[in-house]
Symmetry: C2
Subunit: 107 residues, 2 copies
DNA sequence: TACATTATATCGCTTCTCCGATATATTCAA
DNA sequence: TTGAATATATCGGAGAAGCGATATAATGTA
């Protein structure tokens, strides 16, 4: 039953992350500026969530287009890298989300 | 900007309800036993969320099959009605969800 | 040198979700 | 009497989301 509880919790957690991947990406980027590949690593290693390039990159592009992050082209040891920083708009969006959740669940 | 904020909040709220409609149904049923048509009314009037029969009824059936609610056939003034009650399993599921959200968002 | 890692990005197919339309039945109200 | 409201339920098509496969490029390692 305990392992069943864990499975349910895992499942719910996965659902939550999937449904609001954009928000959770923004929250990670709020901690520190990050790039696509690193974000995929963190999601996989910290949350056990496998998000591949076809999902992640269009989503990052969308977030940039909506002004929630700013993408900076950087060169690291000869490799290109696009590092994303959170904008105020992105930060406000996350705060709004937390508010909505708190309200909706009475937390 | 204020109305923009409201729109963002509304949008996020809608996303939340959509993504976790099963949970929010369970929470409504936790308040009191309810039936399909009434649930649709509440979602529409209280949350501005339009959920039609094709979404709601299969979802209620699924919740029943998973043992989270129990459906009781009732006759009300000559009409059939299927009233759903929350089971302990359903209640536990909701609690687990709240826990997961709290954890994930540090609320 | 060949393969793995780091890194960005897209395409097309499959699966899932949502929605319009619909069916049926009983009661209520104009 | 007719149409609306209350109530349950499903089907099939459209759109959205997810995933496998892929491409490209530079660096690192065995």
């Amino acid at each position: 039953m305990l392992s069943d509880d864990c499975n349910i919790g895992d499942d719910l957690r996965r659902r939550l992350y999937r449904a609001f991947l954009d928000i959770f990406l923004l929250r990670l980027i709020d901690e520190e500026p990050l790039w696509g590949y690193r974000l995929m690593e963190i999601l996989r290693d910290r949350y056990g969530l496998r998000v591949g390039p076809p999902v992640l990159y269009p989503l990052l592009s969308s977030l940039e287009r909506r002004g929630m992050v700013e993408g900076l082209d950087v060169h690291v040891g000869g490799r290109r890298r696009k590092v994303y920083q959170l904008t105020n708009r992105g930060r406000a969006y996350v705060r709004r989300f937390e508010e909505v959740v708190r309200e909706a669940l009475g937390l």
